[in-house]
């Protein structure tokens, strides 16, 4: 009877482990594709674009984030290549002047104040340090959103890239010997 009890306990534990590690992520995250099949790699290699060409700072120093359609339409008013992705982009968005509804993986809670200008211009932090090798990727990964919190799965970091949670910010600031008081980010 003792062995039977242990087996049952172990079976319960294994079931929970399997459900927690394999099943839970499939249940908690909802996946959806980005509106446009965008290749950072093509833009970097063929067009020679740098990150800041599209993800620019405004005149007042604030960060514009994901570029608006006007920026894309500056080059893609007419097709520059022969790919189906570009053709689709022009037909679906550029011609009807419809903004693509990009899903931002780095979206932070409303109570967080993050300054790209301070990190990039003053702190000389490279884009890849937080965003990973997005700039050389051939296609955008699907956007996986947490069904409960509403934030991207990407926030937690993956593949050696640090996450974008409060703990990650604090850890980096501690490592660099920088200030990390509450009011730095929570104004």
């Amino acid at each position: 009877m003792k062995i039977r009890g242990k087996i049952l306990f172990l079976a319960g534990a294994m079931t929970a482990l399997g459900a927690g590690w394999a099943g839970f992520p499939r249940v908690i995250y909802r996946s959806r594709p980005q509106p446009v099949d965008f290749s950072h790699k093509v833009h970097a290699e063929k067009a020679g674009s740098q990150c800041e060409d599209c993800h620019a700072f405004r005149d007042d120093g604030s960060f514009a984030g994901i570029p608006a359609l006007d920026k894309c339409a500056g080059c893609h008013a007419a097709a520059m290549g022969t790919t189906a992705a570009e053709k689709n982009f022009i037909e679906q968005y550029v011609t009807p002047q419809r903004e693509p509804q990009w899903a931002a993986n780095a979206r932070q809670p409303e109570n967080v104040y993050f300054s790209h200008a301070v990190h990039v211009k003053r702190g000389q932090v490279k884009c890849e340090q937080c965003h990973g090798p997005q700039g050389s990727s051939d296609r955008l990964p699907p956007y996986q959103v947490d069904r409960i919190s509403g934030y991207s799965r990407d926030i937690w970091g993956a593949g050696g890239r640090p996450g974008m949670t409060m703990d990650d910010c604090v850890a980096c600031h501690q490592k660099q010997g920088l200030e990390h008081s509450c009011l730095d980010c929570h104004k």
């Binding site: 079931t15 929970a16 409303e110 509403g150």
Partner: protein, 581 residues
């Protein structure tokens, strides 16, 4: 082999154990916390392009220039332009959302009641406007309106007859004036602070007293006696008895004012004795000058003259309209009440909350709060040159608010839709002074600017500064004797000026003891012993205004015989009694 209940429990126990070794429970805790941040009703900061707007803060008469950081049309941060802003000003963009904010009121009913009450006015009864902040263009409209009403009276608190020039002072004696706490423009006071020695004489170690070079703890109500003594109009021994200071201290103080000049003596209202003392010290034209005022259209000069409340006959006001929307000096309600007719007077208050005179009025009509208001700021007490500045709205006012000026003008049948523009045109027509634009920090002579451009610039947060007036002949050395009132055993004194009710500052006392809350009083240890109370004791505070249950704090920074209470609009210092519960 049958499955027993014990088997199920073993399996469940294993599952529970295993679950804790997976990310699921921990992620669910985090996700639930994040989810709760997005519940409906939780305010969200605006996102978008950042713009800068300029205006002037109208929370107090200092009228500091404000640089507003806006996301879209929403101000998200306020800062000073030339120097800092006080804590009230920094948080002013929260004010319209204060839970105590008035948004609706019985406007039509009030208008009908006012019209009916005016119709019923007897030959000796008055219709009066009480303006807490005189000198504005709105004040001129009230005066013009009251000139057109039978027995119309414009009442305003006494204003300092002179301006002070802190930049020229080397020694400043403040008789209870909160010099570093909102009495004048904070930026001006702190810019000049390093160049003068500050002596603060008052019964409480206020914030100004704690930042002064010397604090002279004097008895409540003995400020005038000290001023007279310093001018040689009162015997030093007599003054020492009244103030509680040593004779030697008064003699040394008088010597310091004479030897370390230019000296400046101030009190809250720059009273007659204080002005005369300054003249006596040779400060006329150096640290005090006549109070300037920006030009007004010639047609306005026929307006009703300002009257002090004391000059109004008792029991004569049938209709009293109180403009409390621009906070200023609150007159004690007991004094106002004496002036109302005995039978059914009508009091209408225009206010942002019910905290002030609204408690006593039949109608409280909601008025715009900064930064929703369009108003001008009269010259501050530390302005040596006339000025004209507008508080322009950073956010639109909600529907349902009343403009007190329109209401009063309507009562009097006066058409004054664009009085601010008329005033600006009169200033422009004078051709004097310069226009300073904060966006580029440049100034231009008014003569070089067209009238429309002048008006447009003022609305974009620019400021007109006139030419400083010549001091002219000094007023006579005319002292009025200080009343020798019996000093009560315990006097209630308010903690600070009630210029505004900032959500941030009103929250401080709820979370700390940095500011007195309405249910706390502070006393000197000796006074507390005499009343039989100790630190943290529950007691009843009795004053002429009524009684309240309070908690006692012991503070040696308060003179014996004084009980410090939180400021309330219209609070009058007076005899108090603290009884242990």
């Amino acid at each position: 082999m049958t499955t027993t209940r014990r088997d199920l429990l073993r399996f469940a126990g294993g599952a529970a154990f295993g679950a804790f070794l997976t990310p699921a429970p921990w992620r669910l805790i985090t996700d639930t916390a994040l989810w709760s941040e997005n519940w409906p009703g939780i305010p969200r900061p605006a996102r978008g392009e950042i713009r800068t707007k300029f205006t002037h803060c109208s929370l107090c008469p200092a009228g500091c220039a404000v640089r507003a950081r806006c996301v879209g049309q929403q101000p998200v941060a306020l800062a000073g332009v030339f120097g800092g802003l006080c804590p009230f000003g920094v948080t002013a963009h929260h004010l319209p959302y204060h839970p105590a904010r008035l948004r609706q009121g019985p406007v039509k009913e009030a208008a009908a009641a006012v019209a009916a009450a005016i119709a019923k006015c007897g030959p000796r009864e008055r219709v009066a406007v009480l303006d807490l902040r005189p000198g504005r263009t709105a004040s001129w409209t009230y005066r013009r309106a009251m000139a057109g009403v039978r027995n119309g009276t414009y009442i305003a608190p006494a204003q300092p007859p002179v301006s002070v020039n802190l930049a020229n002072a080397r020694t400043v004696l403040s008789l209870g004036a909160p010099l570093l706490d909102g009495w004048c423009s904070p930026a001006n006071a702190f810019a000049a602070r390093d160049r003068f020695r500050l002596i603060q004489a008052e019964p409480v170690e206020s914030r100004t007293a704690s930042l002064a070079d010397t604090w002279l703890p004097i008895r409540t109500g003995s400020e005038q006696a000290l001023a007279l003594s310093l001018a040689g109009a009162l015997d030093t021994r007599d003054a020492a008895e009244r103030t509680g200071l040593a004779e030697r201290q008064i003699v040394d103080l008088a010597r310091e004012l004479k030897e370390n000049g230019p000296a400046l003596v101030i009190d809250c209202r720059m009273s007659q004795n204080v002005v005369a003392l300054n003249v006596d010290l040779g400060s006329w034209g150096r640290t005090i000058v006549p109070r300037p005022e920006a030009p007004v259209p010639a047609a306005w000069k026929t307006a009703a003259p300002p009257a002090e409340l004391a000059a109004v006959p008792d029991g004569s006001i049938r209709v009293l309209l109180i403009d409390e929307s621009a906070p200023g000096e609150y007159l004690p309600w007991n004094e106002i009440q004496k002036k109302l007719v005995s039978g059914n007077p009508l009091v209408v208050a225009f206010a942002c909350s019910r905290e002030g005179y609204g408690q006593h009025a039949q109608f409280v009509l909601p008025a715009a709060a900064f930064p929703e208001v369009t108003d001008d700021l009269p010259a501050a007490v530390d302005a040596v040159a006339p000025g004209f500045r507008l508080a322009t709205p950073l956010i639109p006012a909600p529907d349902g608010l009343v403009n007190p000026v329109d209401f009063v003008a309507g009562v009097a049948g006066l058409a004054a839709p664009d009085a601010l523009r008329q005033r600006a045109d009169a200033i422009h027509a004078s051709g004097k002074g310069k226009l300073v634009t904060y966006a580029d920090g440049k100034s231009a002579a008014v003569k070089e600017v067209k009238a429309d451009e002048f008006w447009k610039a003022l609305n974009a947060g620019a400021c007109w500064t006139g030419d400083a007036a010549q001091p002219g002949r000094a007023p006579g050395r005319d002292f009025s004797p200080a009343a020798e009132a019996a000093v009560p055993a315990l006097t209630a004194v308010a903690a600070e000026l009630a210029i505004a009710d900032s959500p941030l500052m009103s929250k401080v006392y709820q979370e700390s003891n940095l500011r007195l809350g309405p249910d706390r009083v502070a006393m000197h240890p000796r006074s507390a012993r005499e009343c039989g109370v100790e630190d943290g004791a529950k007691a009843t505070l009795e004053t002429s205004a009524g009684q309240r249950r309070v908690e006692v704090m012991i503070d040696s920074g308060i003179c014996p015989g004084v009980v410090l209470v939180a400021a309330r609009p219209g609070f009058e210092p007076g005899q108090a009694k603290v009884v242990r519960i």
